[in-house]
């Protein structure tokens, strides 16, 4: 139950890219077995505790980080405003490709739980990038998908109330970490982040989030106990996420007709 922030285990570890369970997932699938072996030797890996920074906005870029295990939060600030959580990163994702282009980090990344992370230095990475056009395109593709995600979030914020955005987030989390995640049943998952984090992700305040969660609970759409979320009916949750005609909630059924 205790988080691994202690130094009982060695921080530096040895991870073999070839055996990485997440190898097939992302941009690195572009590399041959031979390249992967080379990459393994050129990279460094280590264990992160919960809540550790991976990289920090404003500091010089230091290459990319491959999230072999765990979950991370990508945050962005623009002083004098407080930072917000702009997106989550799950096992298999590579972080920091945005920063490849040089200069300083435009976001911060922080672990949400104990993680295993591999680090690839800029010099090493550009060697591999020069070798494989597919790898390069992979990163560009990831960047493009993040842009899609960000713009889709804008759409949600523009048109949907917090309740629907929260439903979308829960649906998203259910898809990403529902089936896996230790020994809990289908339609259940453990929230990987705090309420404050969720509030930031939805562009609202913690107080509003609390009340909106309770509102969904009151309507039996989800059950929430601490970190454990139970979704009795995915269909029901989906209806909440996209308020179409037939969504007669306790709040009285609106009949929006969009252009």
């Amino acid at each position: 139950m205790a988080a691994l922030s202690s130094n009982a285990r060695p921080r530096a570890v040895q991870l073999e890219c070839l055996d990485c369970p997440t190898r097939a997932l992302a941009e690195w699938s572009a590399l041959s077995d031979q390249d992967m072996t080379q990459l393994s030797r050129a990279k460094s890996s280590r264990r992160y505790g919960k809540g550790e920074f991976i990289y920090v906005q404003g500091e010089a870029c230091s290459g990319v980080y491959c999230l072999a295990q765990g979950t991370a939060a990508i945050r962005r600030a623009a002083l004098p405003l407080p930072p917000i959580l702009v997106r989550l990163a799950f096992a298999g994702e590579t972080l920091g490709y945005r920063n490849l282009l040089g200069g300083v980090c435009t976001t911060s990344a922080k672990t949400l739980e104990p993680c295993l992370i591999c680090h690839i230095e800029p010099a090493v990475l550009s060697r591999f990038l020069r070798r494989s056009v597919r790898l390069s395109r992979g990163f560009q593709h990831h960047l493009a998908e993040d842009l899609d995600t960000a713009e889709a979030a804008m759409l949600s914020v523009a048109w949907l109330p917090v309740r629907a955005r929260l439903a979308s987030l829960l649906l998203y989390l259910l898809e990403r970490i529902g089936p896996e995640q230790s020994a809990i049943g289908a339609g259940e998952f453990l929230l990987p982040m705090t309420r404050r984090d969720m509030a930031e992700l939805l562009c609202t305040r913690p107080e509003t989030l609390t009340r909106t969660v309770q509102s969904l609970e009151a309507d039996r759409v989800v059950r929430v106990a601490g970190n454990r979320v139970t979704v009795p009916s995915t269909r029901r949750l989906r209806e909440e996420a996209v308020p179409e005609a037939g969504a007669a909630t306790s709040s009285g059924g609106r009949t929006a007709r969009w252009a």
Copy 2:
């Protein structure tokens, strides 16, 4: 005064990339004079009327479009929600690089005024991309900047009221199209879009936008007459955009202390 939507002038035109006044601005500056001459021959150019689609979300990608002259709006939809304007494109910008990666367009682009646009087919483009790594990196850089823009917009929406977001938008427009733009003085510019467009860009409704513009006018921050916006004091407008301590407005001066 009449828009060029008539067919008085030929739609197809001949434009020389080497002489393009916007050549230095963007990713194409990576190419040599020789390459640019080749590109000129391989591309096609034409005149667009106001309000014409350049590409449409959901349709197959058809290469990139270089905006030699004019302004365009990039819109995104996710049914059943109405579309929103996610960003503007000005002269010199190249559109559609997001779509290079294949599949269908994830956004739509539409001219906001009469435009001159060059079109480069996928086959031609990938030839040049293979030739120049700098060009490829240029596109990746553009993509990364759009991501920054999108996430910065999220930050604004999360923390700032419509009034401050509107001030930011006006500031942005003043920077982009203030100095140029025919014969109007410094601190003035012509709005390139409708109120509805502005509302979408700020994630609010046209009614709210109208009232917020009037609120800024009432406090003498800007003067607006039709499309003509006058900014008496850029400093004053900047203060509105970032509501720090010392912004004592007519609404009574809030004293927010952010973490």
